[in-house]
Symmetry: C2
Subunit: 273 residues, 2 copies
């Protein structure tokens, strides 16, 4: 149990719809972050309802981006999630990429499985884990999986469950500006201001590096929702469905090259030291 936002290892959370055809700003950064040219990728397509198609797309992209080996894991049911061959295929991966779709598919199908244990173990061994959309949302310990944007500030409208927990007390939300999701993060942060909300825009990402510092990448914004100054809120006094009042939520907008220090809760104009 973290009393402060916390993460270990190297993670890249992408806000969805990253460019796969033109500039590839975000995906090129993912590859650069691996730190070697001769790299092995594992792609987990479980979140998608059409994993085969999704797998092909990322196979094409990572081929273009020079991967030396690409394993596509189209796991669609729990029995496969303990398949020794699939677990073995993640061995020595330098990058594990988790595609978008529905984050509940990821947790229900991979939760408690050998494949997920293998991902965790690659993370601990220093491999880079990247995820986009649902694949990024699942990084959180408290994972948002449902909630209409316009209802975000009505109590109980944002449903969460336990995610993969690669980070603790950091709540990722994706497609953030495109879907106007600020209310969802404000609700979660109001219920526990220890948590910091990270709303990632499309074709944008945050690079987490293990020292508590995140860097924003891409063509859009990464919004930080920090509740440390919250004064009054009515969340304990109202029933589900009633509107939430809250005082003093602190918001930052980060763009490409800007950073955020999760330990100090500090906005950074640059992550270069």
């Amino acid at each position: 149990m973290a009393l402060n936002p916390f993460f270990l290892g190297r993670l890249i959370a992408i806000g969805g719809n990253e460019d796969k055809a033109n500039e590839l700003v975000v995906l090129k950064r993912v590859v650069r972050e691996i730190g070697k040219t001769d790299y092995k990728v594992g792609v987990i397509t479980t979140a998608s309802e059409d994993p085969e198609q999704r797998g092909k797309e990322y196979h094409t992209v990572f081929t273009k981006l020079g991967a030396s080996s690409i394993e596509i894991l189209n796991i669609t049911q729990r029995t496969q999630a303990n398949d020794k061959k699939l677990v073995k295929s993640l061995e020595n991966t330098d990058l594990i990429f988790i595609t978008g779709g529905d984050q509940l598919r990821l947790t229900t199908i991979l939760g408690g499985s050998q494949v997920l244990a293998a991902v965790q173990s690659r993370l601990e061994a220093g491999a880079l884990i990247a995820g986009t959309s649902a694949g990024a949302t699942v990084f959180s310990d408290t994972m948002i999986y449902e909630g209409k944007s316009e209802d975000g500030l009505f109590k109980g409208s944002v449903l969460t469950t336990s995610g993969f927990g690669f980070v603790e007390k950091i709540i990722f939300d994706t497609h953030f500006m495109a879907r106007g999701r600020i209310g969802r993060l404000m609700q979660i942060i109001t219920t526990n201001p220890t948590c910091i909300g990270v709303g990632i825009g499309e074709d944008s990402a945050v690079v987490l590096k293990g020292d508590g510092v995140a860097e924003a990448v891409g063509t859009g914004q990464v919004i930080i929702v920090d509740g440390r100054d919250i004064g009054h809120s009515n969340i304990m006094d109202i029933k589900p469905g009633e509107p939430i009042a809250v005082e003093n939520v602190r918001i930052h907008s980060l763009v490409n090259g800007y950073g955020y220090d999760f330990k100090k809760r500090q906005f950074l104009t640059s992550t270069i030291k």
Copy 2:
């Protein structure tokens, strides 16, 4: 020129889609705020593309709400906006209600007109002015009239012009949660943190009372966007179309009965003194 957010007179800004059929929480409050039972209403439907229909709707509602006299002003062109009979019809009104539609229709058709002068003069004489959606947005001196929600944090995506200016340095935006408009207000506040953004939810309103204090009313939220703590922003350094970085925007969510003191920039759990 106000160096601080400022308003005179009695104003109610409604976030659009206020209930006209069931509980009428917002419209009943409008009527209660007039302060008398025998009241005369003028309705300005200029923002609407179907003013006749809109006029009929509000005639029905205000009849139900006990108005003793209702004047519907279906002004659709500038020549009518100086019509002496129409100007005279606003005399002795206790409430002037400005309907929704497109706020640019309001400013282009009524700007500089005798009818607008009559509205201003009723405001100064103590009548209540209420507006919904476009009819509320136009209260601002710097009036937002265009800007996709998802692009709100890209420089230049939010178009503003001069509004009716019943309030200074307070920027109203409406349909706020339903359309995820936080980025629009963040952009305007970043360009000049003297301004305070007020994002009004649907079936919700703010009652402004002349002492600098606003009260939230209705079934949703009123979001305050305050830039007083803004540290860094890149807005001067980037070109139109580029994403905006900004540090420390302060957000409050007010619900029915909560208030905000614009002079002190202070969240209030109640406006009862």
